[in-house]
C-alpha cells in the first residue's frame, strides 16, 4: 500500500515539471505544424489562408533543399570524423605522463568555453582572412598563393571551425575512458606479444567503443542544428554551398519572410532528425548495452 501511495504522490510531484516540459515542446511544435499548412508571409499580414501541402511541395522541390541535406550530412560527418579521430589521438597524447600536464589539459579544454559566434569570428578574421589572416601570412611566407577559405572551400572551413569547438568535448570523454582502462590488461597484452599498435587496436580501441558511441550520439544531436558559425561567416553562401537545413529554414522564414514554407521546412527537419536518431540508436546503440 505504502508504495502505491508514494507512487501516486511521486506522480503528483513531478507532474508540474512534466506538464511544463510537454507544453514547452508541444505548443511550438503544434504551431509550427499549423503554420506549415498556411500561406503565411510576413510582408503581407492578414492574408493568411489554408494552403494544404503547397508549402511542403515548394520546400521539397527547391534545389536548395537537396543541397542543404548534403551539406548537413557533410557537416555532421566531417566534424564527427575530425573530432573522434583527433580526440582519440589527443587523448592518447594527454594520457602520457609529461611535464606541465595539468596546464596542457586545461588549455585543451579551453575551446569548449568559447561561444560559437565568437570562435567563428575569430577564425574568420584572424586565421582565414585571405589578406590579413594568419594562414594567408603563412602561405605568403613560404611563397604560396593564400587560400580564400570562405570562397574556395567554404563548407570545409565551417567544418574546421565547428570541429575545433567540439574537439575538447570528444577529447575529454575519450581521455576519461582511456584512463579507466585496467593497466593489467595492457601489461597482459604486452606479455602476450602485442606491440604498441596491436595493443591500441585490440585493447584500447575496443575499450573506447562505448565512449566513442556516446560522443557520436551527443555530437550528432548538436551538429544537426549548427547555425551560428554559418551565420557569422558565410551566411549560407556562396550560393547554397554552406546552407544546411537549419540555415535553410531560417532563410525561408526570416530572409524571405515566408513563415509558411519555413515552418514546413522545420517539420521536415524534425522528421529527418528523428530518422537519423533512430538510425544511430539502431546502429551503435547496442554498444551501450554490452
Amino acid at each position: 500500500m505504502a508504495t502505491q501511495h508514494s507512487r501516486a504522490a511521486a506522480r503528483l510531484m513531478i507532474s508540474p515539471a512534466v506538464i511544463l516540459l510537454l507544453g514547452w515542446m508541444l505548443i511550438p511544435l503544434g504551431m509550427t505544424i499549423y503554420f506549415s499548412f498556411l500561406r503565411y508571409n510576413l510582408l503581407m499580414p492578414g492574408t493568411e489562408a489554408w494552403a494544404g501541402f503547397e508549402n511542403y511541395s515548394y520546400f521539397l522541390t527547391d534545389p536548395a533543399f537537396f543541397a542543404a541535406i548534403w551539406n548537413t550530412l557533410f557537416l555532421v560527418g566531417g566534424v564527427l570524423l575530425i573530432t573522434v579521430v583527433g580526440g582519440i589521438l589527443l587523448a592518447l597524447l594527454l594520457d602520457q605522463p609529461f611535464w606541465g600536464q595539468g596546464i596542457v589539459r586545461l588549455l585543451v579544454i579551453a575551446p569548449f568555453f568559447v561561444m560559437p559566434t565568437v570562435s567563428a569570428l575569430v577564425w574568420k578574421n584572424m586565421f582565414m582572412n585571405p589578406v590579413n589572416g594568419l594562414f594567408a601570412f603563412l602561405a605568403d611566407a613560404i611563397g604560396m598563393q593564400p587560400v580564400d577559405f570562405f570562397a574556395e572551400i567554404p563548407l570545409l572551413s565551417i567544418i574546421l571551425i565547428v570541429a575545433w569547438g567540439w574537439l575538447p568535448f570528444a577529447t575529454l570523454i575519450l581521455l576519461t575512458a582511456m584512463q579507466s582502462l585496467d593497466g593489467e590488461q595492457l601489461e597482459a597484452s604486452e606479455m602476450d606479444g602485442a606491440g604498441a599498435v596491436s595493443r591500441f587496436f585490440h585493447i584500447v580501441l575496443p575499450h573506447l567503443a562505448r565512449a566513442i558511441t556516446v560522443v557520436i550520439l551527443i555530437q550528432t544531436i548538436f551538429l544537426l542544428s549548427i547555425f551560428a558559425e554559418i551565420l557569422v561567416t558565410t551566411n549560407g553562401g556562396p550560393g547554397t554551398a554552406t546552407t544546411n537545413l537549419t540555415f535553410l529554414v531560417y532563410a525561408e522564414s526570416l530572409l524571405r519572410f515566408d513563415v509558411g514554407t519555413g515552418s514546413a521546412g522545420g517539420v521536415v527537419a524534425v522528421i529527418l532528425a528523428n530518422i537519423v536518431a533512430i538510425f544511430l540508436m539502431r546502429m551503435i546503440g547496442k554498444n551501450l548495452d554490452a
Binding site: 593489467e184 590488461q185 601489461e187 597482459a188 606479455m191 602476450d192 596491436s198 585490440h202 575499450h207 554490452a290
Partner: protein, 334 residues
C-alpha cells in the same frame, strides 16, 4: 627449459630501494613460491622477472642468456594476474587465442592448442562466452589457459587465488599443482598465504622488505627456520615463541615450540596455565592457554576428543628435541 637466475638485482622507485641486492636461482621445472607479508616486494620481484619493470641494477638470466634488457614478450614467460586481466570484449576462445594470434601462428595449430587447453582446464563449454559471463573460478582458468597455450619457459602467478572464496581456492590450488605435475614447467607463484606456499611449493622463498630471509623446501623451512621471522611466518597456527627466563634455561634468547610439539596433561608438566578458547576442528583441537607466564597465549594442538573446558588448569611440556632456539639477533642456534 626454464632456468631463471637473478644476479644481484636491485629495484628502486625514486629514492626508495624496494629490492636490495638479491641473488636467486630457480631451477628448470621447479615450483617456486615467493611468500612474505604485504608490501615486502613479492609482486615487484615477479614483475622484474617478467620484464614489466626494469631492474635498477643487476642481471636476469633465463636459460643462461642475459635477459635483463629483453622486452617482456620475448622472454618466453607467461603471467597470470591477480585481477585475471582478461580482455572483456573478446570471447573466451579469442582471449586464449590472443597470444597465438600475436605470434602469427597458423589457424590449425591455434585451434589445436586452444582445444587442448580447454580440455585440460574444463573450459570447452564456455569457449564462446565473454569473460563477464563467467564465474571467478572460470575466469581464473581462462587466464591460465591464455598462459599455457603459449607453452612458455616459465609461468608467473601473482596471487592468482586471492579473489576466490575459500572452497574454490583449495580446488584451484590442487588444479594448479596438478597442472605443474603434468606440464613440468617452471612456475613462480606469489602469495602471502603461507598455507598455499606450504602445500604447493617445491621451494619456498620467504621475503621480508625485499630481502630473502630463507630459501628451502616447505618441510625444511618448517623444521629448520633460519630465524625468528621465518619461524613465526611458516606454520599454522603459528609457532609459540617464548622469551625470557624459560628460554635462558635452554641457552637461548628465544625458544620456539610448535603447537603440536607441546604435550598436554591435567596432572603434571613443566609449565602450568589456564585454558582459554578451544577451537574444535574435529580431527584436532587447538587450545589457547593463558596465564602460563611464558607468553600472552600459548597454542597447543590436542586430540579432537579433548574434553577440557574454559578455565581448566593444564600442564604443558615441550618435546625436548623439537625445540627451536634463537639467539639475540633472532638467528637460529643449531
Amino acid at each position: 627449459m626454464g632456468r631463471i637466475t637473478l644476479d644481484k638485482i636491485t629495484k628502486s622507485f625514486g629514492d626508495v630501494q624496494v629490492i636490495p641486492p638479491l641473488d636467486l636461482t630457480i631451477e628448470d621445472g621447479e615450483f617456486v613460491v615467493f611468500v612474505g607479508p604485504s608490501g615486502c616486494g613479492k609482486s615487484t620481484l615477479l614483475r622484474l622477472i617478467a620484464g614489466l619493470e626494469d631492474v635498477s641494477s643487476g642481471e636476469i638470466r633465463i636459460d643462461g642468456k642475459n635477459a635483463t634488457e629483453t622486452p617482456p614478450a620475448k622472454r618466453g614467460l607467461a603471467m597470470v594476474f591477480q585481477s585475471y586481466a582478461l580482455y572483456p570484449h573478446m570471447s573466451v576462445r579469442k582471449n586464449i587465442a590472443f597470444p597465438l594470434r600475436m605470434a602469427g601462428m597458423d589457424q590449425k595449430e591455434q585451434d589445436r592448442r586452444i582445444d587442448n587447453a580447454a580440455k585440460v582446464l574444463n573450459l570447452s563449454d564456455y569457449l564462446d562466452r565473454r569473460p563477464g559471463q563467467l564465474s571467478g573460478g572460470q575466469r581464473q582458468r581462462v587466464a591460465i589457459g591464455r598462459a599455457i597455450v603459449r607453452e612458455p619457459a616459465a609461468f608467473l602467478f601473482d596471487e592468482p587465488l586471492s579473489n576466490l572464496d575459500a572452497a574454490l581456492r583449495v580446488g584451484m590450488r590442487l588444479e594448479i599443482s596438478e597442472l605443474h605435475n603434468r606440464l613440468e614447467t617452471t612456475m613462480i607463484y606469489v602469495t602471502h598465504d603461507q598455507v598455499e606456499a606450504m602445500t604447493m611449493a617445491d621451494k619456498i622463498v620467504v621475503l621480508r622488505a625485499g630481502l630473502i630471509e630463507q630459501v628451502g623446501s616447505p618441510l625444511d623451512l618448517y623444521k629448520h627456520p633460519r630465524n625468528l621471522f621465518v619461524a613465526g611466518f611458516i606454520g599454522s597456527p603459528t609457532m609459540n615463541l617464548i622469551a625470557g627466563e624459560p628460554a635462558r634455561a635452554y641457552d637461548a634468547t628465544t625458544i620456539g615450540v610448535r603447537p603440536e610439539h607441546m604435550a598436554l596433561s591435567t596432572e603434571s608438566g613443566k609449565w602450568t596455565g589456564k585454558v582459554g578458547v578451544a577451537e574444535h576442528l574435529g580431527s584436532d583441537t587447538f587450545l589457547h592457554i593463558h596465564e602460563t607466564g611464558l607468553a600472552e597465549t600459548i597454542t597447543v594442538r590436542a586430540d579432537g576428543e579433548v574434553t577440557l573446558r574454559h578455565g581448566d588448569t593444564v600442564h604443558l611440556t615441550p618435546v625436548e628435541d623439537k625445540i627451536h632456539r634463537f639467539d639475540g639477533e633472532g638467528m637460529r642456534i643449531s
